[in-house]
Amino acid sequence: MTDPFLLIAYILLFPGFLFLFAYSMTFEFLDRRIVARMQNRVGPPFFQPFADLVKTLGKEVIDPRGVDRPIFDAAPVVALAAVMTSFLYVPIIGPSPLAFQGDLVLVLYLLTLPTLALMLLGWLSRNIYAAVGGIRAVTMLFIYEVPFFLALMMPTLMAGTWSISDIMAWQEEHLCLAILQPIAFIVALIGLQAKLERTPFDIPEAETEIVAGPWTELTGRRLALMHLANETSAVVGSALIAAVFLGGLAFPWTVESAILSATVGFLLFLAKTVAILLVLSIIRAATARVRLDQLNTIGWKYLTMAALAQVGIVLVMMASGVGI
């Protein structure tokens, strides 16, 4: 894929920005629909997330008094740009053409940016609910990020590479990493739930406590872009976990035609990400929001310890040659 035209098509059309946008809308629809069905509600129609986005984009932008406008405008754009960029390094069908050694680290860091943007927005909003929410968001970051990073670094240990595409390729030759490292897989799923600030980890935007947290003063396109950044994060996070932990779940037979093989690979990608979304949605519908101090206990006492235990297990497995 050295052809510049193809590369641009990859970035902009498929599986780049356009696909990411469309898929994140579908993702939101599925999420809302699954939760609605679990809650005995009807749920939104298919186009609702898109309609919501268009409507919010067209709404008036209201500046809180005394707000630092340039940064307030820039933060949602930065958040969205970071998430969209990170998607380019996540393998969808085959390995990503932009893959390099260390792109896993880059993706993880780019996925952290929306949280930092949220903290900044909360702090700049000149609103007590937003400020408290922003502080909560960044406090939470320190709690879930450690086990989340540990869990996603584990595959690099076993596969001996820092590239997501290479980890995926490694799994096709060996075993699925979700089977080899089940604890890391579960910790990564919980960490993703926390990263996306979904129940039980929706502490920064706890509606009944601090209105909407950092989102309180966001209006119009700022709200729409921030919301889109959140939705695309869900897709990128699911795709990342699908590539890193479920990469081995390839189609067992060789498909002859190249186009057919790509289609099968794409369908597999959809199936894996939707399966991850299903787990996240079920967690969202089946839990209550925990408190920040309780999350502290969960994060450091259980998740980090579990991730560290997995490190030990992986090291022992590698020393004894199991699974490699």
Binding site: D202, I210, A285, A288, R289, R291, D293, Q294
Partner: protein
């Protein structure tokens, strides 16, 4: 961290009612609290003095949207006692049925709200769905979902037909099964337990000293229920139990309320099955003789008391309403100090506050002249700390 003041209410998505908390927090921990009540004084007591008894009943029912039957019953009970009118057994049973259905739907509503306050919206959706079955029953029996208007001085307005009784009884097994599901959920759902256990703890002594009533007091082990301690209607004739718990926290209050839903269901079923025949109204005189009475009643939220003074006419000279929320407020303020900010909604919700009902304030000033002590210009200010 520095101290910050978080204003909660009177417009806030967590509190749908007009109340204002100024929560002073040190980081996430609450260090001080100021409560401002009484944003919606409606003058119901004064309005009640201008009408005859028949027209007071629909008015006094509107003190509260949830405990509407409670206020109407406690008022007519008081007037009937002053008049010396004994209402027929069938009317007593019908009043009891409506009262217990009201308790069921109130507690189910509360359970949903409490779940929503801790972000557990699934339980919220489920309880409110199942609550519809109770509301449908009430609508079939009285014609209304919220303000049933079943009471009259001397009896009830509507009789229950055998087919209505049958339809109401048919709904009971479904509700029974749902209540069992809630009991399971409250005891097993781990994230909800972490938010409810040990939150808003109130010891038995504290509950007594703050004068807490209703499920709030019973969850702290105070065995006080007007239905048992000062029986009215048919509560001394039918089998039922006072539900108490010793946890004293939000978890205990949840358990008490779920237990009470089950008890209420038993009472409704018993009353429907053993509904006596006869008239539904006794002939009551138009005017009441002069007298004073403190009429008490166990509303879903706790003891509601009406002080009624009559002067020989068809109107009351004075009616003073004490809602259970007023009795429970002081314990809330006590529970909140030292808790994380995140616990505010659930601790406040745990007493099942009904703030517009509470908006009638008596100005108390020790040793001073009350006449000069006019309310502040911004409206009457309530209990503050």
């Amino acid at each position: 961290m520095t101290r910050i003041v978080v204003p909660i209410g009177p417009q806030h998505p967590a509190l749908k009612e007009p109340v204002n908390f100024r929560v002073v927090t040190d980081g996430e921990r609450i260090v001080d609290l100021e409560l401002n009540l009484s944003y919606s004084h409606r003058g119901i007591e004064k309005a009640a003095e201008q009408r005859d008894f028949i027209r007071v009943l629909p008015l006094i029912e509107r003190v509260c949207g949830i405990c509407s039957h409670s206020h109407a019953t406690v008022f007519s009970k008081g007037i009937e006692e002053i008049m010396g009118v004994e209402i027929p057994p069938r009317a007593q049973y019908i009043r009891t049925i409506i009262a217990e259905l009201e308790r069921m739907h109130s507690h189910m509503l509360w359970l949903g709200v409490a779940a929503h306050e801790v972000g557990f919206n699934t339980l919220f959706m489920w309880t409110w769905r199942d609550r519809e079955a109770v509301l449908d029953t009430l609508e079939e029996l009285s014609g209304n979902r919220v303000h049933y208007n079943m009471n009259e001085i001397g009896g009830v307005r509507l009789d229950l037909s055998p087919s209505q009784v049958e339809a109401a009884l048919a709904r009971m097994p479904v509700l029974e099964e749902r209540i069992r599901a809630y009991v399971g959920m409250v005891e097993d759902e781990e994230t909800m337990l972490t938010r409810f256990r040990g939150v808003g703890s109130l010891s038995r002594e504290e509950a007594l000293s703050f004068g807490a009533v209703g499920p709030t007091a019973r969850a702290s082990g105070v065995d006080y229920d007007v239905r048992k301690d000062d029986p009215y209607l048919v509560y001394d004739e039918i089998p039922w139990n006072v539900v108490t718990d010793t946890n004293g926290d939000v978890y205990g209050r949840t358990k008490v309320r779920i237990g009470e839903i089950a008890e209420s269901l038993g009472i409704v079923r018993h009353c429907l099955e053993n509904l006596p025949g006869g008239p539904i109204r006794a002939e009551a005189p138009k005017a009441a003789p002069p007298g004073e009475i403190l009429s008490r009643y166990e509303a879903p939220r706790g003891e509601v008391a009406h002080f009624i003074r009559t002067n020989g006419t068809a109107r009351v000279e004075r009616v003073d309403i004490r809602t259970p929320t007023l009795a429970n407020w002081t314990s809330v303020a006590h529970c909140l100090i030292g808790r994380p900010l995140a616990d505010v909604p659930v601790i406040v919700a745990a007493i099942d506050p009904c703030l517009s009902c509470t908006s009638r304030i008596t100005l108390v000033k020790s040793g001073g002249d009350l006449g000069k002590d006019a309310p502040p210009p911004n409206g009457p200010r309530g209990w503050s700390r």
